[in-house]
């Protein structure tokens, strides 16, 4: 994201503080991404629609208090969406679901030296099942949402080095198990 884009979003947010209708531009811009982000953690369309509305309502409610903290506005939006999902799981005490798109997983695994087949997919599922939630959250934000470590740290309320460490550990195991050439920053 360029500095000009960040400034433009900030100007829209400043206008939204006085007139919430001005927020519509950012809603249209980020709705699909936030919906997909939540859907990946629920695998339920109606529930996702509810949580997504809750997240955007929370944004509208607190937009007056928004302050630029060195990360793009979208990071704040993801943080609120992530909090809504966590709140839902805390209330229900359900097992957290991670529903990953096969296409995205394929993109991630394209660097593997092994052919893509059902057996590899099952192995990968087994591997991801063994990962703790915090590592899965980091992987999701890093490889499915293309967030940098500063944004991940802000969204998950951890330090930047903590976000890097979690990604490194998760990828290290992935590399060993699947003979991947993938680098810690997500590039081959």
């Amino acid at each position: 994201m360029t500095e000009a884009e960040i400034q433009e979003e900030y100007a829209i947010l400043e206008r939204s503080k006085k007139d919430p209708r001005a927020f519509g531009v950012l809603y249209e811009k980020y709705f699909d991404r936030i919906f997909n982000f939540i859907y990946r953690q629920t695998d339920d369309e109606d529930l996702t629609a509810d949580l997504c509305s809750q997240a955007f309502l929370a944004v509208l409610k607190h937009v007056g208090r928004y302050q630029f903290r060195g990360v793009p506005f979208s990071a704040w939006l993801y943080k609120i969406a992530s909090n809504e999902v966590n709140k839902y799981y805390r209330k229900r005490k359900n097992t957290k679901v991670f529903s990953l798109e096969e296409v995205k997983v394929r993109e991630l695994m394209d660097a593997a030296q092994e052919p893509w087949d059902e057996e590899l997919l099952q192995r990968l599922l087994g591997y991801l099942n063994d990962l703790p939630t915090d590592m899965l959250e980091v992987l999701q934000l890093r490889f499915f949402e293309d967030k940098d470590f500063a944004e991940i740290a802000f969204i998950l309320d951890i330090s930047e080095s903590g976000a890097k460490m979690r990604t490194y550990r998760a990828l290290d195991r992935l590399r060993k198990n699947f003979n991947l050439q993938i680098k810690y920053d997500g590039k081959e």
Partner: protein
């Protein structure tokens, strides 16, 4: 035991499905309703606080007034009691004096 449930989706969400859920007008309507409810609750809270404060002041005022009246009554009663007792004493003295006079 698995910590999370991992699922693989063969098809990503279509643009049509996403568009079905995207509705800024309804979100704005909900937001405006929430703002109205919040304002109304604030107003009710302020009115309640004012009513409680007025009731407390009124209560304190009424109790003080009652105490004042009671004090005044007690003072008046005390004063009249002392006055009657003095009279009685005088009266008794007079009667005793009368009684002590030898009968002619």
């Amino acid at each position: 035991m698995a910590r999370n449930e991992i699922r693989i989706r063969r098809k990503p969400l279509s643009a049509g499905k996403l568009a079905r859920y995207r509705n800024y007008e309804s979100l704005m309507a909900r937001h405006e309703r929430d703002v109205r409810i919040k304002r109304l609750s604030k107003l009710i809270l302020y009115v309640l606080i004012i009513v409680i404060l007025v009731c407390t002041f009124l209560g304190v005022y009424i109790i003080r007034e009652k105490q004042k009246i009671e004090r005044a009554k007690r003072k008046a009663e005390h004063a009249s009691h002392v006055h009657t007792r003095d009279n009685n004493i005088q009266g008794v003295t007079v009667i005793e004096q009368v009684n002590r006079q030898p009968l002619l």
